[in-house]
Symmetry: C2
């Protein structure tokens, strides 16, 4: 080894020890007679000291030639510091250096390698290997490492087998777009990269593997949003001979274990909320339950009082912002502007102040008496000093807009504390979603999700009313995982493909192997998948998954560091039996 210790290791107990350290020059303070150098590695920072009156002139000259980020090796003696630094674990000591070797020089980095940097996003992406030197970024990746190891410990301990499923699989048109890989050996044919190991993990259940897991890369060729990546990591799991409750308990156990191991937090049991209740009370299927402000429907109190907006609405629904009766005109206007943003989509906002003196003031006083508004308040559970915020219109859009407003109020009122973790299971999802554009049903979860046995009889007449044993784990308004009990019966799977508009031939071509497998003794089974990048960002207290990926791609799916994707050689194209066919854009 080129070192005896790391830069995070030495303490006052090591005083007088002869040591070697290696690392990067973080900072040099040259005070004339004395020079101090902070040497950095993954493990910490150790101060080196040089004394012009004591040390060899050549050594001093060498130090003065160093620049930021030079890689050096030093030999020296551990000394007690005069001025100790309580902020770092090595702050009680410094190294009196006898010998210094430059292992590599460094150009001036294009941005500061400090916790707070001056580098912009694109620049830091291009020089990702330098950005990864910064402690906050490295800590994110270290957190990811710890989460990965702890996940595997728990799963292994629970008897799950980690099985690697293939990356070169087969393209299926259902769901998001696949990335494909042309075959050289099989002209005109392609592999596809998996969007998830779904069918393989189900086959493992058919194989009797009983409990499977994998931490696995998955791929989706989607138009990217800020928090999506073309390649992402899942904790993928499946179990046999279980009912929904067994799966919920097993994976609630996993997440509790991770919180305990990684953050020292003991989470209480996760409440279960039906999808219907989530939509009714929070207007979304992943409610942030760190705060209340549940929806209250007001149709019976608000309609037929002559206010056209309410009278024409399918739904009048509101929330109570506690202690906000003093909001100014300007603040309320800002909220109105917020709900009118196209992303939120409401036409307007009705506000009702429940003043401290018990009187009401609202934007609709013309239509509603004090008694009317008192009835609103009583129904909504508002107290003097509170502000009621009411939206009206089409049912789904109004719930969705009020969800956004609720989240904004939660944020504004400081009710969404990053260090408070509120987890729950949302259960009883509908099996299918109707799509107006294509006039067909889509699987809400995926085509392998089983209908609730007691709902199977509605499948024919009223597929939209069928619920599934499907569930999502939601923490702080983020869907961290989800899954379902699967179909394990060939005929039911065939019916499901039929409902989803597959011809028998298409179903057979794409999923014949799975339906065949169901004929050879498939056990009842179900599972779950967690978005691992998202889980890391949740644990790290960040909204961005990119901060938790070592080498992420940008919003255009490009790795700007290695400059990929890129052109390939004509010879390669020829071997793969393909040609570039430029697409004329209109």
């Amino acid at each position: 080894m080129l070192r005896t210790h790391t830069c995070g290791e030495l303490r006052i107990e090591n005083k007088d020890a002869q040591v070697s350290l290696c690392g990067w020059v973080q900072r040099i303070r040259d005070k004339g007679g004395m020079i101090w150098l902070d040497l950095r590695d993954r493990y910490g920072i150790t101060q080196l000291s040089f004394d012009e009156s004591r040390d060899d002139a050549a050594l001093i000259e060498q130090v003065r030639q160093l620049g930021r980020e030079f890689v050096i090796q030093v030999q020296g003696v551990v000394m007690e510091r005069y001025a100790k630094n309580d902020k770092i674990p090595t702050g009680a000591i410094e190294i009196k250096v006898d010998q210094l070797t430059v292992l590599n020089s460094a150009k001036l980095p294009p941005f500061l390698i400090e916790d707070e940097t001056d580098g912009g996003d694109e620049l830091r992406m291009k020089y990702r290997y330098l950005d990864l030197r910064r402690a906050p970024v490295r800590n994110n990746l270290m957190l990811r490492h710890r989460l990965m190891q702890a996940t595997r410990r728990y799963m292994d301990h629970q008897g799950f087998l980690e099985v690697e499923t293939p990356v070169l699989i087969k393209s299926t048109p259902e769901g998001a777009r696949d990335f494909v890989v042309p075959s050289r050996v099989h002209e005109g044919e392609f592999y596809a990269l998996p969007q998830s190991p779904q069918t393989f993990k189900q086959l493992l259940m058919v194989s009797g593997f009983d409990k499977y897991f994998q931490i696995v890369k998955c791929f989706r060729d989607e138009d990217l949003r800020a928090d999506r990546q073309p390649e992402f990591t899942q904790i993928d799991c499946e179990m046999s001979f279980v009912e929904q409750e067994d799966i919920l308990n097993t994976f609630e156990g996993l997440v509790k274990y991770l919180f305990k191991e990684i953050k020292g937090i003991e989470l209480p049991d996760f409440p279960r909320m039906t999808y219907a209740d989530a939509m009714k009370n929070y207007g979304c299927d992943k409610p942030d339950t760190r705060f209340g402000m549940a929806f209250k429907e007001l149709n019976h109190l608000a309609q037929n009082k002559g206010f056209q907006v309410f009278d024409d609405a399918a739904l009048v629904v509101g929330i109570v912002a506690e202690g906000c009766a003093e909001y100014t005109r300007k603040q309320i206007d800002a909220l109105t502007d917020y709900v009118r943003r196209p992303q939120v989509g409401a036409k307007g906002l009705v506000w009702v102040k429940y003043n401290a003196d018990g009187s009401f003031k609202s934007g609709v006083d013309k239509f509603f008496s004090q008694d009317d508004l008192k009835a609103f308040a009583d129904h909504m559970g508002a107290k003097p000093g509170d502000l009621m915020l009411i939206l009206a219109g089409d049912e789904n859009k109004t719930r969705s807009a009020l969800n956004e407003l609720r989240l904004k109020m939660g944020t504004d009122l400081g009710l969404r504390n990053k260090d408070d973790y509120q987890a729950l299971w949302v259960i009883d999802f509908p099996l299918l979603e109707w799509d107006e554009d294509t006039q067909r049903y889509y699987a809400m979860h995926h085509p392998f999700t089983a209908p609730k046995p007691e709902h199977v009889s509605y499948l024919k007449e009223n597929p939209g009313s069928v619920n599934a044993n499907a569930y999502d784990m939601v923490i702080n308004g983020v869907e961290v995982g989800g899954g379902s009990i699967r179909i394990h019966d060939r005929e039911m799977q065939r019916r499901m493909f039929e409902i989803l508009g597959f011809s028998d031939e298409e179903a057979k071509e794409q999923f014949g192997f799975l339906m065949d497998a169901f004929e050879y003794g498939a056990p009842p089974h179900g599972g779950v998948a967690f978005g691992f990048d998202r889980l890391c960002s949740l644990f790290g207290g960040s909204d961005s998954i990119r901060d938790f990926i070592a080498f992420p791609k940008n919003n255009a799916g490009r790795d700007v560091m290695i400059d990929s994707p890129s052109a390939i050689a004509d010879e390669q194209l020829k071997e793969l039996h393909i040609k570039i066919a430029p697409t004329t854009k209109s």
Copy 2:
């Protein structure tokens, strides 16, 4: 849960317990009045018993309707068996069944789901999910799971961070062929799948991650041999501020840990053998050291005696097969045929028997006196009763052929015991290999391997003589892993690319990011990668890696179960801006 216990769990201590079990029908023995059913799951087999004189007629009828591989759930009571079966852990008990539920029926499987099956290779590949039900195959995958978890435990404990590197990267023409992925967003551009995370792990060292590992899928579009797969798994590792010896010790530690944890075997320290010695003594760089039979060169004794074959040869070299002087004519002819096979490539074989009475008999008695042959024997360390086998010809080809012959003799003489593990490090590999066809040097390891510092000065005049700090771990003649100390200096990397025939422009386009990174403070570093599939097969005592992969591809790179690769939709091709361009084969 649909069960209270697994099929491997119940013991005599559970007598009289009311239990539920789930599993597959392995076997039914219907002896008229009594029926026994072996119920199987991942954990074992439990016997169920039914008694016509005791049980409900409907239950008996139900049992008689069952077939092999039906999935059932039973409730019943644990009873002590009359005739105990010592061969299975549950052999002391059976379940007196009260209630039986068929969870799924099963068609007759296309082959026997038993340890010894009647299914051919292709059939078992097509129904891989059924093959995976067989205990030997499942045990292989369970071994793989245990190896994976133990590897991570060791690496984590040693302070290595597991970092996921990207799968969608950039194509580089050096090395094997890449699989590529057309980009939809970036017309005419492609991602490539990694052949290894080499450059990324080096960038992580530049980032100061210090110790990295990953168990990771890699991809090579090669023409497949029986033991190659287009996607394979590596244990990939890299360390900073180390010298070769540190890496050898760390990963020797890993493999010792795995042998101890998984097989209960304490391996002694691994000997180190130079590449030059391996080639000289065994004719290959991955010698099987479970047995001796080292090469002995005979030029000085064998030439100039009038035997043209020896006189014309660059090399005369032999091995001693202990105790084989009694080999028959037929046996020796068979060996001669063996070495003449095109895969071995020798022109003929010279044999010399050292008879028990001290006399010699050989195929070249015309040219060599008894004294000459005694000199051979003395030089080769042969004793009375031994057989000397000698090849002659071109140096490299002769060593290579004698290597094959040595391995065959080792096998024939039972010297290659699967349960004997002999590990070593082969070190001091040449940096470069000259290729006659293309008249250029290729990197023996890869273009990032550093020349030995003391050999750098020969790089210009005589690149072929330069050795590298490169090393392979060899166990029982199998290369399980290899690595090197890397170049961490931009100028050295540039020179290496130059020697390998890259123009500056090509080097910059393909590896500019790495060379740039070397300018910002790259530490000395090195690493290793283990072929994980191969390691599993070694631990499992098998020659085939395919047996240790859940869903392998066949020799044509095809997954015959899911039928991939396959054609994709025209719409997909269009979105990807590519066209099929049939290649006319001559």
